[in-house]
């Protein structure tokens, strides 16, 4: 096979054109963001070079992008999975908080466990915390009471208050100096997820990638995936297949919420080592957008969560270097979405 054959193959492959599309979306959005920065009296060129040299120029910066990717990827899967059944889970944020909450309960209760037992226990508790929270919405939907979109949305506002209640109350750290910044008592060392390569990249990344592959495998290679798509929103098909649709909905919501819960567990266990009120700056909402932008495809979710992790990292960086408010990150995220939603011809099949 000659070099030109290889090039033709690459240019024809779906994968290469997907990458080209994502790059195009990012370029257009960055141009639009530059205009917003100009209007705000900031220097967009410096903002861009700062971001590029930090995120791609340094190992530390790049590793921080990967760290940001973890909760985004997990909450995106938590949206993509139920969407195959026609369920709209906009509650990733709340599920993330409840996963962190129950994992924290485990971490500060079973303090004397060895790491080999503690980590699986945290994974279990994080999963159950988010899973139960999501299956409440699933149950209401299954009973035909309330649409899961609105319940999951509203429950996003309740979960952080539960976390706040415990962090400011029963679990509050009484250490010296800790009172200024309310947080839970510290996790024991055995309850901290391991980190790799001298960076903050942690076991959550492995969990996210494994779950992403499992998600891809189930929907591409097994009959469950096909079955889920068949019964999605079609009660008749479910009945013919002999499936209890209500139970199915609750179980799928449980698994989805559990995956979002893992994101919360991993954040508090690996990064903070404590539960803090308001520790997530809307990861769950961003995860929804990622899943949607990627059309629920596994590769797309990986790519989009990387892109949005760069955006979020840039947000924190520019806040420090140029005093750009962190909320301006939301503007950039919205611009990316607007472009994809507008579906210019160039982007073709992406949306």
């Amino acid at each position: 096979m000659s070099f030109s054959d290889v090039m033709t193959r690459i240019s024809r492959s779906r994968w290469a054109s997907e990458v080209a599309r994502y790059a195009l979306v990012l370029t257009i959005a960055l141009l639009a963001y530059a205009v917003v920065l100009l209007l705000a009296g900031k220097d967009p060129l410096r903002a861009l070079t700062d971001t590029a040299s930090y995120t791609f120029g340094t190992w530390l910066g790049f590793s921080e992008v990967i760290v940001r990717m973890i909760p985004l990827l997990l909450t995106a899967i938590a949206v993509a999975l139920p969407s195959r059944l026609g369920l709209i889970n906009v509650g990733g944020e709340g599920q993330l908080y409840m996963g962190a909450w129950l994992a924290t309960y485990a971490a500060i209760t079973f303090t004397s466990l060895p790491p080999g037992l503690f980590i699986p226990l945290l994974v279990l508790f994080g999963f159950v915390g988010g899973g139960v929270w999501a299956s409440v919405a699933g149950y209401f939907r299954a009973r035909g009471l309330v649409n899961e979109t609105i319940t999951t949305l509203l429950m996003n506002y309740i979960a952080p208050l539960i976390v706040g209640f415990f962090v400011y109350g029963a679990w509050r750290s009484r250490e010296m100096g800790a009172s200024a910044f309310p947080q839970s008592i510290a996790f024991p060392d055995a309850a901290r997820l391991p980190r790799f390569l001298g960076t903050r990249i942690h076991l959550g990344f492995v969990l996210a990638v494994v779950l992403l592959i499992a998600f891809w495998f189930v929907f591409e290679k097994t009959k469950w995936g096909l079955e889920m798509r068949a019964i999605g929103g079609n009660a008749d098909a479910a009945r013919r297949l002999g499936i209890n649709l209500g139970l199915y909905i609750v179980i799928v919501m449980f698994i989805a919420g559990g995956i979002a819960g893992l994101a919360g567990m991993a954040e508090v266990s690996a990064l903070h080592g404590r539960l803090r009120a308001g520790f997530s700056p809307g990861f769950g909402f961003t995860g929804f957008l990622i899943s949607w932008l990627a059309g629920g495809s596994a590769g797309g979710m990986f790519a989009m969560s990387f892109v949005l992790a760069v955006v979020l990292s840039a947000g924190s960086l520019l806040q420090i270097t140029q005093g750009v408010p962190y909320a301006a990150t939301n503007v950039l995220m919205a611009l990316i979405l607007f472009i994809v939603l507008m579906r210019p011809k160039l982007l073709g099949r992406l949306s």
Partner: protein
């Protein structure tokens, strides 16, 4: 509970219910035309920040409210462009609008953080205090509050007693039938989106310059989503929306009063009250009777264009 706190509860319920009524009415108009808009939160934030900025700069609160209404309408045009003209997914368009609103409002409001305003002027309707049993504190509101219930009636008339309302509801129920009857679906949906944005902008203005009298980032605290829930609760009916808004206003006021009286309950638990109550009300209501959602609600992206 004494009479004074009961009066406080009543007036608080009305005050906190007001922005939510505007918001819910706006969403009802949009949903009646077949559009679910999850971007209310963003529109409301833009309205709140614009109203505050304009009224601080000009010293005129009414100018602030007008600017907020226009900003809200213009902002929601973005949603209409995506969801109507480009046939984009409504939920994603709404959430994109929410993110945009959070970002833009924080940039608009940044110079004004920590400042205050005098608040929208309150007055009593003539003759109210002559009614026996009505104290002066019970009926002392700003004009936006007084206009809220008449507005709900006006929207009810517009939706159910005019040709325009008939067209709008037809577009929401069955776009293809409305199209066959010669209605311009895109144009009607744009009108609905403009009205929705206008009302959500006013709701934001009332929150920042009449209720809070200050600007803080993310001050809407999920009211946009609560309004979407109240639309379901009110079964897409403008008059029932009044009840929904009062339930929410009551929950917020109860929460604040309990906090002020220093009951031994954590503020975090009290803060849950509006959300839990909204969910509860939604559950009880939708369990009792069937939905009456517009037929083509949310399905617009597959629609006629």
């Amino acid at each position: 509970m004494n009479l004074g706190s009961l009066a406080g509860l009543l007036s608080g319920t009305i005050m906190y219910g007001t922005p939510l009524l505007y918001l819910t009415l706006g969403e009802i108009i949009g949903q009646r035309a077949g559009m679910v808009n999850l971007g209310l939160e963003g529109i409301m934030l833009v309205g709140a920040s614009v109203a505050f900025a304009v009224s601080v700069e000009t010293g005129n609160l009414w100018l602030g409210i007008g600017a907020a209404a226009l900003a809200g309408a213009a902002f929601n045009l973005l949603y209409a462009y995506l969801a109507v003209s480009r046939g984009a997914n409504q939920l994603a368009s709404g959430l994109a609008l929410m993110f945009f609103g959070i970002g833009i409002s924080s940039m608009i409001g940044r110079p004004y953080v920590g400042q205050g305003t005098v608040g929208l002027q309150r007055f009593q309707l003539p003759g109210v205090t002559s009614i026996p049993g009505v104290s002066a504190t019970m009926f002392n509101y700003d004009a936006i509050v007084y206009l809220a219930v008449p507005l709900a009636f006006l929207i009810w008339v517009a939706l159910f007693r005019t040709r325009w309302g008939l067209s709008l509801r037809a577009v929401g129920e069955s776009p293809s039938a409305a199209f066959a009857a010669g209605r311009r679906i895109g144009w009607i949906r744009y009108q609905a989106a403009l009205a929705c944005g206008l009302l959500a902008g006013i709701a934001g203005a009332h929150l920042s310059i009449a209720l809070a009298r200050t600007w803080t980032e993310g001050m809407t605290g999920g009211r946009g989503f609560i309004a979407v829930a109240l639309v379901i609760f009110s079964k897409w009916h403008p008059l029932r929306a009044i009840v929904g808004a009062l339930v929410f206003g009551g929950a917020v006021t109860l929460e604040l009063q309990l906090q002020a009286q220093g009951v031994g309950v954590s503020p975090f638990l009290l803060n849950m009250l509006p959300y839990v109550l909204t969910l509860g009300v939604l559950l009880i209501w939708s369990g009792a009777r069937r939905y009456s959602a517009p037929g083509a609600l949310g399905r617009v992206y597959q629609g006629e264009e």
